[in-house]
Symmetry: C2
Subunit: 227 residues, 2 copies
């Protein structure tokens, strides 16, 4: 993304500087950000389309309130779409180059878990690999509409890959969770190789439950933080 202003506003919303429910006027934001109305006018519809803002009547926007239930639904939606992508990929059959890249991801994960525990550094490495693995599936599924939808979902608040951080839940718990998720990666890769579309889709849907667990932890942590 190039537009720096939508990023600034995203951060302000996620950090709570712009609290949920707050009404946003072009003039007010322009003054607060020391720019003219024109760029904020360009940024607001984008943020609304990304799910950060709600339109209030036909006049202006307000910060969308954070709804944990809705975040879970977003997460599930992503799993469904990724499942569909996996089905497509299994159906058409992955290229040999793609299989190699997938195997690289699997090997990296195996290396991490072979120790029997995970460190904080491992989490970063796993997160990077995990994102790459998912991208491999989605980018090669052959359906641009699915890709674009997933890109939008990944831009939505609270569920993008970047927030799947595990450092708030304890390393022991993270180990089990990540290990299980990595197991899904293995079985998914197998299903794709074998051309088993139904199975690939089912695995990815179940895979989402792992992420859901992580989000629950995150919500709990953020709630404790505010008390």
């Amino acid at each position: 993304m190039k537009n720096t202003l939508v990023h600034r506003l995203r951060e302000m919303i996620l950090s709570g500087e712009l609290p949920a429910g707050e009404r946003l006027t072009e003039i007010g934001l322009a003054e607060k950000l020391s720019v003219s109305r024109t760029p904020v006018r360009a940024a607001l519809p984008i943020l609304a389309a990304d799910g950060f803002l709600d339109t209030v009547g036909k006049r202006g926007y307000k910060v969308r309130s954070f709804d944990p239930e809705q975040s879970l639904q977003q997460l599930e939606l992503r799993s469904v779409l990724e499942g569909l992508a996996a089905r497509y990929l299994a159906k058409k059959g992955p290229s040999t180059g793609l299989i190699k890249e997938i195997d690289t991801c699997l090997a990296e994960g195996d290396a991490i878990f072979s120790k029997g525990y995970v460190t904080e550094d491992d989490e970063d490495a796993y997160g990077e690999m995990n994102a790459r693995f998912h991208s491999l599936i989605v980018d090669n599924c052959g359906s641009k509409p699915v890709q674009e939808m997933l890109a939008k979902i990944n831009n939505m608040p609270f569920i993008g890959p970047s927030v799947l951080v595990f450092n708030q839940i304890g390393l022991e718990r993270a180990y089990g969770m990540l290990f299980r998720a990595h197991g899904h990666h293995h079985t998914l890769a197998e299903a794709i190789r074998l051309g088993e579309g139904d199975r690939a889709e089912a695995i990815f849907r179940e895979h989402g439950n792992t992420q859901r667990e992580s989000l629950f932890s995150r919500v709990e942590a953020s709630l404790e933080e505010r008390s």
Copy 2:
């Protein structure tokens, strides 16, 4: 929608006045439409987000080329999401009021097909009822993310409910197609009533194939038209 300019541009794209691949500059469009750059500047990102335009580099947009394959993928994506909505609805159980509204749709459809044939007027009535039926499922599925995604898909070119018109394929063929689709509605309603989420989802996915057939016909017709 309020923004009349995006509508005008949509029409110009769909009608071919702005041919696929054409580069769009703010100043050029502003002159052609006799407005200033400001409103077109607001409209272009919206059209891009809706899938009518592609970004060319970091500088401007071009009209996205019409790809039949991609339209089919969009259609399938919609079926998958509607299937998910149907699953949700079946899982949580529909309210009695909702069941009544669904039954009303079913009865309207039955009345249309009881004659054994369809007229052009019937097509309008069926189309209206069909849209209402689908809305009932989606609006009551309980997942705002799914609803918003479907709203976006319905805004995309060539697959919105409004283009599911059948007057180009002959009334005999339309009868069979619509009758089959209506049968899906019946079985779907039953699955929802019985709380059979898996079945509801499967039916709606299959339901999409009917629409796919209609789109094929439409594409053929539009290709013949241009020759």
